[in-house]
Amino acid sequence: MSQPDRSKLPIRRQPFRGVANRTLDGSRPDWDALGHTDAPDGAPNVLVVLIDDAGFGNAGTFGGPIETPNYTKIAEGGVRYNRFHVTALCSPTRAALLTGRNSHAVGFGSVGEFSTGFAGYTAFVPDDCVPVPRILRDNGYSTAAFGKWHLTPDGQQGPAGPFDRWPVGWGFEYFYGFLGGGASQWDPCLAENQKIIGTPEAFYDREDPYYLPDAMADKTIEWLHALRAADAKKPFFAYFSTGCSHAPHHVSAEWAAKYKGKFDQGWDKLREETFARQQALGVIPADAELTPRDDAFAAWDDVPEKLKTYYARQMEVYAGFSENADHNVGRVIDAIDELGELDNTLVLWIWGDNGASMEGTITGSFNELTMQNGIPLTDEMQLQLAERYGGIEAWGNEMMDPHYSAAWAWAGNTPFKWGKQVGSHLGGTRNPLVVHWPERITENGALRTHFTHVIDVAPTILDVAGIPMPTHIDGIEQQPMHGVTFADSLTDADAPERHTQQYFETIGNRSMYKDGWWLSMKTARIPWVLTPEAIKPYAPGVWDPDDDPTELYYLPDDFTQAKDLAAAHPEKVKELKELFWAEAEKYNVLPLLAPLAAFFGMVPPLPDVAKYEFRGDVENVLSGMIPRIYNHSYTISAELVIPPGGAEGVIVAEADHLGGFSLFVDNGKLTHTYSMMGVFVFRQQAEEPLPEGEVTVRMEFAADAAKPATGGEVTLFVNDRPVADGRMDHTVPIRFSGYAGMDIGRDNGGVVDLSYADRKPFTFTGTIKKVIFDVNPHASADEEHELHTAAHHGHAAHALSA
């Protein structure tokens, strides 16, 4: 069979080459017509592994304190790149990785939850930038993605789609994972292909509980086995994107226990130790300098003695969590090896998508969403809340959604400054890459120092597969990929460095790289600080980006950005500044700080839906899609049928005990529990049991005022008669959960009220005809507008830390 024209996708079918007479007499079949498009001869399997929220100095393979034996094994059988770059934020790196294009140019200047009306920040890929899995699929690859996605807009993660923004729409034939930016590893609300499947049943198995990293590896291996059972030769493209090491840091006690006492020396000393190991390993130059600690991070010596155990525990869990990820990636690689296909599998394993995350703020948190909801807890408060939910030994289990201190993240980004969200410095933009392909790479364990970027991965895959970048897909002319192949550097240390110029921009922190020079332009805002005072200087007409301080580095002589040359080379500063503006315009980076637009009055039109009806069998409504009940009065009513003898169970529940609400019946009594992020928990319960027969129940929240986090009075009604009341002094202003869903008739996954935890999911034993949310019972037009604005502030805040 001749090679098809791969320049336009889908590939057109070949003309019929047999003979079709009036009868079989003299007719000759064309057996090629039955086939499908084959990948080019010799095209390798491809496994892309992306670890989340990790830094250059985390993995032991690159000198970090975390044991990563599988990463090291692959590195020793392949090559490791020590000048590989990412975008400093989750979704943008993923979009760049899968499209081969700069993130802003494909609508991902920010995270998937946050769509705004500027081309660089829509959170959906334009049709003329079709992603690489689709290109591979149409060229004869089987494609699948496992784990974290984070490329579907927040409000489009339900049965209505649109599914071109889901993994299947990007070209993955199979998907098993979660659509958001983070997920519980114990009770995630999962998607499979085009359906939200919720929390796996195995979560309820206390003997052998569900654990997402294990399940991801299981599913990947299962998919590989099924693929080979169906087709012995078809190459695969598998994208294995771990939820680890993003918060919540969930791992069993056994994994964390391996690191008991390993971080008692604190983050300052850890950086020094990591730096020494990096130099000994040769993954950084011998003359590299360890950059100093910024004043934004406390010195370990200044941490109160009584809290050092609390802080050290945070890193122990993170380390165990990360090592577990290495273990499960190793299982997948072993499975490929067991199939006899590892030699011709190109493994690209990137340890981190944006540097380690500083979003745990200085204190770290028992519940990562406390930060996003603007609850300023001291470290002592955080510790006490951790004690409330099991103590620091439980840090990592399903009772908490922990995130470590920003200072541990900074240590994880050794030897660089800063971390996630800081696109101006290497702490947020440089991560380890290891490439393994025994059939081609023979210089085992070698180091590559080529300047490479995540947008180079897709062109490299196409290059080694022998697949051209198509000019048209579905009839639409395609923009060329912005990345360049580094395939020749896999086998040749002296291959030319092709990626010579690159802009970086994340939430205003930006840089311009060209021919070894790196201009850093960081805003003064500390990445984890989103107070009004911190945002105010960036208002339209106030902020002039050209007034931001500049730092200039020459990376060939200064691996870590330790020597600022800006004062000595003003002409280079000027040149790179101008180049940045040109690149920013070219790739839709403008306007800078578009993700903050909501803070300055630029909000989308008001939604016109104020009532939401849910029938009794609706479940797993993702947290970004629940009715907008935050910050104002609302009612939840339900039409029930109570059987003779009474009923119990959940009528409606959102999320869990770390933030959420549940309207339920216990001992026959209507009960409402509201968890303000696990910090405050409010409960109201009727004195009398529900009557039998058809019953209408209602929960009314009368807010003190339409304002963020408003307090208010709760009244429960049965058949319009008040049966209980109580006050909630504080409510959740932004979001209950980053991952947990809302259910009618049950409380899937972790439960809101722990009193029924032993009966979870506490399915309602009567009948629920429907549940109705009225989110606009009394609001004036002005209040609605203010609330809408506040909601988008919250949306932006969540997006800035997802």
Binding site: G374, V681, R683
Partner: protein
């Protein structure tokens, strides 16, 4: 016992039972003579637990805890700052509902939120340098002071501490 005392009362608020009990045990072990100490915690399921060393009860007064928990002991200004540009903390320091009652359980139950805990310690003003440093874990604390006959001084000190606590919370 002297006819006139200068008495201090320390009240503290906590987010966990463990932290409150740690401070309670620390004051019991600090070596100072305490007129009374009581720690009350409220589990997430609403169950109250109380420990106390309350000499006032023996002295025929209402009891330290019964007075102390009558008004807003626990109102930490947790929402003092905001991430999203609004005055989220405006209501954070409000006193919780006042529910007059003679029973410690009822009063504490009404004022301590689910999952929280409170501590009240009464001691001679002269012992303040011994007592106060060992109370290290309260997320909010205040110390009141009053002079007078023993019971008068206790009540006055509690009222003073409560007022200071309320002012702190409101300021938050």
């Amino acid at each position: 016992m002297k006819l006139h005392d200068t008495i201090d009362v320390l009240i503290g608020g906590y987010l966990s039972k463990e932290a409150a009990e740690e401070d309670y045990n620390a004051v019991l072990d600090c070596g100072a003579h305490l007129y009374g100490a009581v720690v009350v915690s409220k589990a997430l399921d609403g169950e109250l637990s109380v420990e106390q060393t309350d000499h006032m009860v023996r002295e025929g007064a209402e009891g330290l805890g019964a007075i102390g928990f009558a008004v807003g002991l626990f109102a930490p200004p947790l929402l003092a700052a905001t991430a999203v540009g609004a005055a989220m903390g405006a209501g954070a320091g409000k006193l919780l509902h006042h529910k007059a009652s003679q029973k410690l359980g009822e009063q504490a139950g009404a004022t301590i939120p689910l999952g929280g805990a409170g501590l009240i310690v009464a001691y001679s003003h002269a012992d303040a340098p011994t007592v106060e440093p060992v109370v290290t874990r309260a997320v909010q604390r205040s110390v009141g002071e009053a002079e007078g006959s023993h019971v008068q001084a206790l009540k006055g000190a509690i009222a003073d501490a409560q007022q200071k606590m309320a002012e702190t919370a409101s300021a938050g």
